[in-house]
């Protein structure tokens, strides 16, 4: 492996770490959002917009 390739590889590794962490952080925030919204506006069986599976 040349020094240039190694430098790019290391940068990619760093981005992988940051990217995966950021992705999980976003999904966790959305998870909290889902739970909060569901608590704030609970669904009712008679609501017209409900989509019951």
């Amino acid at each position: 492996m040349t020094a240039a390739t190694e430098a790019v590889f290391r940068e990619a590794l760093e981005i992988t770490g940051k990217g995966m962490m950021a992705l999980f952080a976003f999904m966790f925030v959305f998870f909290v959002l889902l739970v909060l919204l569901d608590r704030l506006f609970p669904g009712r069986n008679d609501e017209a917009g409900n989509q019951v599976l």
Partner: protein, 373 residues
């Protein structure tokens, strides 16, 4: 008279190979039904652009540049990112987030199953690709054609052709790619895990507020992802608002069909012999497969890890549905579950993970754009 035969005399073996590739894509689209909406236009377009002096591409005539239709479409549809973004509106209008509200934990699989993107990006750097090219190749693992095209149009326009072909081909091959990886990583006991039913109403207000808040939050934290997630969520808002039923249906049907058609044939403008017949194309095809394999592995392994900490166990196969190939991946997981136990009904759980994969893949695209300089 000589002018009539200029096409024959200028034809090269490379043009003929590309035409054969185009014909193969048309065959796969019609005979095997592999993503026909995309592969057929790409296949036909490949034939079009490899006819010598084809008027669909820009040509120099009499010292001046004569614009070709496909080159023009490429400039206004791909370079401006308009086509992929319009597709996101259509996809957003097709997504129902309500299964996710019933088991929000499955949202995390949408992150875990993007591992293949980053793994492949890192692996691609070892084959001599620079970071921007490697990121464009890695994003094939988003299992989401428009995201792949969006990122490649920013980072590696020269690789858009092979990246698109790889992305759409592997999406069609999900039923062949995922099952062996899942079987390799799970025991039969794990594949037999049952999950509770999802029978709970979700309020319309919740479904309306969710896309708006997701857009604002994403935009605040990762502005580069705003266009991607914003157009996706706009389409979803049109669906859920309840007062734009005609527009929602138009987005899901006419808009999706028309833009997909234009996107496919426009992508083909990059499928010229000089660009496509490169060693790098073979690497892209191989690395694309690697991305799908590691996406699947990431989702399954994360589900197994999660099971160490939660009471209501998750069938680890559901993790593999965290990729964006919707609804193909969910169907594959459901079918695998039924093969192990015909009374195990995993479809809606897999759909939830699959929907989270759609958010995850778009976010991953945005993060790649933000992190790769």
């Amino acid at each position: 008279m000589e002018g009539l035969f200029v096409g024959f005399t200028a034809m090269t073996w490379q043009n003929l190979v590309m035409m054969a590739i185009g014909a193969t894509l048309i065959y796969l689209a019609i005979k095997k039904e592999y993503e026909p909406a995309l592969l057929l236009p790409i296949g036909f377009g490949t034939i079009l652009v490899n006819i010598p002096f084809s008027s669909v591409l820009d040509q120099v005539e009499g010292g001046g540049l004569v614009a070709g239709a496909l080159s023009y479409f490429f400039r206004v549809g791909i370079l401006t990112e308009v086509f992929p973004l319009l597709i996101f509106v259509a996809i957003g209008a097709m997504i129902d987030f309500s299964p996710l509200f019933r088991r929000p934990l499955l949202l995390l699989f949408g992150a875990a199953a993007q591992f293949g993107i980053f793994f492949t990006m890192t692996a691609a750097t070892l084959f001599g690709f620079d970071l921007r090219e490697a990121a464009s190749i890695g994003i094939i693992g988003s299992a989401d054609g428009p995201t792949s095209i969006y990122v490649a149009s920013r980072f590696a326009q020269n690789l858009i052709g092979p990246i698109s072909v790889a992305a759409y081909s592997y999406m069609a091959l999900v039923p062949i790619i995922q099952p062996p990886v899942i079987r390799l990583l799970t025991s039969r006991r794990e594949r037999l895990i049952r999950m509770d039913g999802l029978q709970r109403p979700i309020s319309r207000t919740t479904l309306i507020v969710f896309p708006i808040l997701v857009t604002i939050l994403t935009g605040m934290f990762a502005p580069t992802a705003t266009a991607l997630i914003g157009f996706l969520m706009f389409g979803n808002l049109v669906r859920e608002c309840g007062v734009l039923k005609k527009l929602s249906l138009a987005a899901q049907n006419e808009l999706a069909s028309l833009v997909t058609l234009l996107l496919g044939i426009t992508i083909a403008s990059t499928m010229t012999a000089d660009r496509f017949l490169q060693v790098s194309t073979l690497f892209i095809i191989a690395l694309g497969l690697c991305a799908f394999i590691f996406d699947t592995a990431g989702g399954v392994i994360f589900a197994k890890l999660l099971n160490l900490f939660i009471k209501r166990k998750v069938n680890p196969m559901i993790g593999a549905a965290g990729i964006s190939a919707f609804p193909m991946s969910a169907r594959v997981i459901h079918k695998m579950g039924r093969q192990e136990d015909s009374s195990n009904f995993l479809l809606m759980h897999a759909v939830s993970a699959n929907v989270s994969g759609q958010i995850g893949s778009v976010l991953a695209g945005g993060l790649i754009l933000a992190l790769v300089k």
